[in-house]
C-alpha cells in the first residue's frame, strides 16, 4: 500500500504477508512507517492506494473485528481518570464478554487487583503496556497487531511476553509486532519485515536474512544502504 501525508510519502508500495502460526517482527528506524502501516491495517486510517486485509477482507468489513483481531497501538491512549479494570470492563462490554474475562486477562498480564483498581493516570509505562496487551487479548483473537509492546516492560515482562507470543503462535495465531528491540525480536520472531523510508527493505525468516550475522548487523546494513540510496 501507499500512504501520503501532505508532502510526505509515509508508505511507498509496502507489501507483505503475515501467516497464521507465526510471529512476524516489523522493524524499521524511527519514522520508517511502521505505526502508519499498522494503523491502516486496523482501519484507523485509509491508504492512499492499495489494500490491507485480514482473512482476505479489509478490517472495517470484518463481521466482528474486535473478536478476531487484538490490537495495541498506543498504550498511553486511555482516559487517565479510569481505572485499569474499568478500561478492560468497557472493552469486555463492547465485545459481549463476561466480566470474569477481565479478571482472567488481568491475571494473565500480571496486574494485581490493587493495581487494576488504581487510575490509569498513575500507571507506569510498563503497566500501561501490560494493560494494553490485556485489552488486546480480551476476546482470545486469532490475529494480534502490536506496536512496540515490549517498550517499557521490565525483564520479567519481556520474558513473559516472549513466552505468551510463542504460545499464541503455536496455537495458530498470526502475530505482527513492531519493535526496536532487535535482540528480542531475534528471539521471538519467526520472520521479519524491515522497512525504511516507507519501503520494504527486506523480508524473510531470520536465517534467510542473517546467513550467520545477527539481526542488528543486518538491520544496520539494510538501513544504511537505504539512506545512501535516498541521499
Amino acid at each position: 500500500m501507499v500512504k501520503d501525508y501532505k508532502g510526505v510519502r509515509a508508505l511507498d508500495e509496502v507489501s507483505f504477508t503475515v501467516e497464521p502460526g507465526s510471529v512476524t517482527g516489523f522493524l524499521g528506524p524511527n519514522g520508517a512507517g511502521k505505526t502508519t502501516a499498522l494503523r491502516i491495517l486496523v482501519g484507523l486510517s485509509r491508504p492512499t492506494s492499495g489494500t490491507a486485509t485480514i482473512f482476505g477482507r479489509p478490517y472495517r468489513e470484518l463481521e466482528a473485528p474486535g473478536w478476531h483481531v487484538g490490537t495495541l497501538l498506543d498504550a498511553n491512549a486511555q482516559h487517565p481518570g479510569r481505572t485499569g479494570r474499568e478500561i478492560l470492563t468497557l472493552g469486555a462490554m463492547m465485545l459481549g464478554l463476561p466480566r470474569s474475562r477481565v479478571d482472567e486477562v488481568l491475571e494473565l498480564v500480571g496486574l494485581t487487583d490493587r493495581e487494576a483498581r488504581r487510575t490509569f493516570r498513575g500507571y507506569s509505562l510498563g503497566m500501561r503496556q501490560r494493560l494494553g496487551i490485556a485489552h488486546a487479548l480480551l476476546a482470545r483473537p486469532r490475529v494480534l497487531v502490536l506496536d512496540e509492546p515490549a517498550n517499557g516492560l521490565d525483564p520479567q515482562g519481556i520474558h513473559w511476553l516472549r513466552g505468551l507470543l510463542r504460545q499464541l503462535a503455536d496455537t495458530g495465531c498470526a502475530v505482527l509486532l513492531s519493535s526496536h528491540l532487535l535482540a528480542e525480536v531475534e528471539r521471538i520472531a519467526d520472520r521479519v519485515v524491515v522497512i525504511g523510508g516507507g519501503r520494504v527493505l527486506a523480508e524473510g525468516t531470520l536465517d534467510e536474512l542473517g546467513r550467520g550475522r545477527d539481526l542488528e548487523q543486518v538491520f544496520l546494513e539494510l538501513t544504511a544502504k537505504a539512506d545512501r540510496r535516498a541521499a
Binding site: V2, G50, P65, D74, G81
Partner: protein
C-alpha cells in the same frame, strides 16, 4: 502488488484452550450502554453529576423559600443547573474519547464510527429528560414542606404543556452543546463556544431590530423562548425549526462527516 495481508488461523486460538462463541457485530444497545457508562466511570464525572444534583436541590429549595410553594415554578428553577453544568457534562461525553485518544480503542472494536457517534450522543439527551423528571421529583416535596412551613396553601397544578415545553427546551439546548462538541472535538473550546455564542446573539439582538429578527431564526437560545413558555405559534415553530437546522443540525453534520473520514489519532 502493494498490499498488506494477514492470514488468520482457521480456528480461534487463545492463550488457553478456550473457544470463542460465534462472534457477532457489536449490537447497538451495547454501544449505548458502554457510552452511557463512560459518562460516570471517572471521579471527575461523578463529581460533576453530584454537583448537578446538589445544585438542582439547592436552587429549588431556595426558590421555594423565596417564591412560595408553587410546584411548576419550582420545577423549572432547576434550569439554572441544566443550562450551565449539563451542557459541560454533555460536551465532555462527546470529546473525552478524542482528547484522551481512547478513540483508538473504541474504533478498533467498532469500526462503524457512525454508530458509535449516535450511541454517544443519545445518553446525554436521555439524561436531560431524566434530569427534567428529577427536578419535578425534587420540587414536589419542597412544595409540600414550604407550604407547611410558611402556612400557606400549596399550588400543585402543573401545566403539562409548559412542562413538556420546558423539557423539550432543555433537550434542544443539550443537542446544541453536543453539536458544538462534535464540531470542535475539544472540551474547552466547545464549552466556551456554547456560552459565547449565546452572549453574542444577545448582543446582536440588542444592537439592532434586524439583528433581533435574525437571532429569532438562527439562534437556538433565542428561538426556544416561546417553546419554553409553551406559547408556540406556527411562526415560532418555523423559527425554531430553522434555528435547530443552523445551530444543531449543521455543526453536528459537519462534525460527523469529519469524524467518519478523519484519521483516528
Amino acid at each position: 502488488m502493494s498490499d498488506v495481508t494477514v492470514h488468520g488461523a482457521a480456528r480461534a486460538a487463545g492463550e488457553t484452550a478456550g473457544e470463542n462463541t460465534a462472534p457477532k457485530p457489536v449490537p447497538f444497545h451495547r454501544l449505548l450502554l458502554v457510552e452511557a457508562r463512560k459518562m460516570a466511570d471517572t471521579r471527575s464525572a461523578m463529581v460533576m453529576l453530584g454537583l448537578l444534583a446538589a445544585m438542582t436541590v439547592v436552587s429549588i429549595a431556595a426558590r421555594g423559600v423565596d417564591a412560595g410553594p408553587q410546584l411548576g415554578r419550582l420545577t423549572t428553577t432547576a434550569g439554572i443547573g441544566y443550562g450551565t453544568l449539563l451542557p459541560a457534562i454533555a460536551i465532555l461525553a462527546v470529546t473525552g474519547d478524542w482528547t484522551h485518544r481512547s478513540a483508538l480503542t473504541t474504533f478498533t472494536l467498532e469500526p462503524r464510527r457512525g454508530r458509535v457517534l449516535v450511541a454517544r450522543c443519545l445518553p446525554p439527551l436521555l439524561a436531560t429528560v431524566a434530569a427534567s423528571l428529577f427536578a419535578l421529583a425534587v420540587a414536589a416535596p419542597v412544595t409540600a414542606v414550604t407550604a407547611a412551613l410558611q402556612g400557606v396553601p400549596a399550588e400543585w397544578d402543573l401545566d403539562a404543556t409548559r412542562m413538556l415545553g420546558w423539557t423539550a427546551t432543555n433537550v434542544l439546548l443539550i443537542a446544541m452543546a453536543l453539536a458544538f462538541a462534535m464540531l470542535l472535538l475539544h472540551p474547552a473550546a466547545a464549552i466556551a463556544t456554547y456560552f459565547v455564542v449565546g452572549t453574542l446573539w444577545n448582543l446582536v439582538g440588542n444592537v439592532s431590530e434586524l439583528g433581533r429578527e435574525i437571532a429569532r431564526w438562527v439562534d437556538l437560545g433565542t428561538a426556544v423562548g416561546p417553546l419554553a413558555a409553551a406559547e408556540l405559534t406556527w411562526m415560532d415553530a418555523a423559527r425554531l425549526a430553522t434555528a435547530v437546522l443552523c445551530s444543531v443540525a449543521l455543526p453536528m453534520a459537519i462534525g460527523a462527516v469529519r469524524a467518519l473520514r478523519a484519521e483516528v489519532r
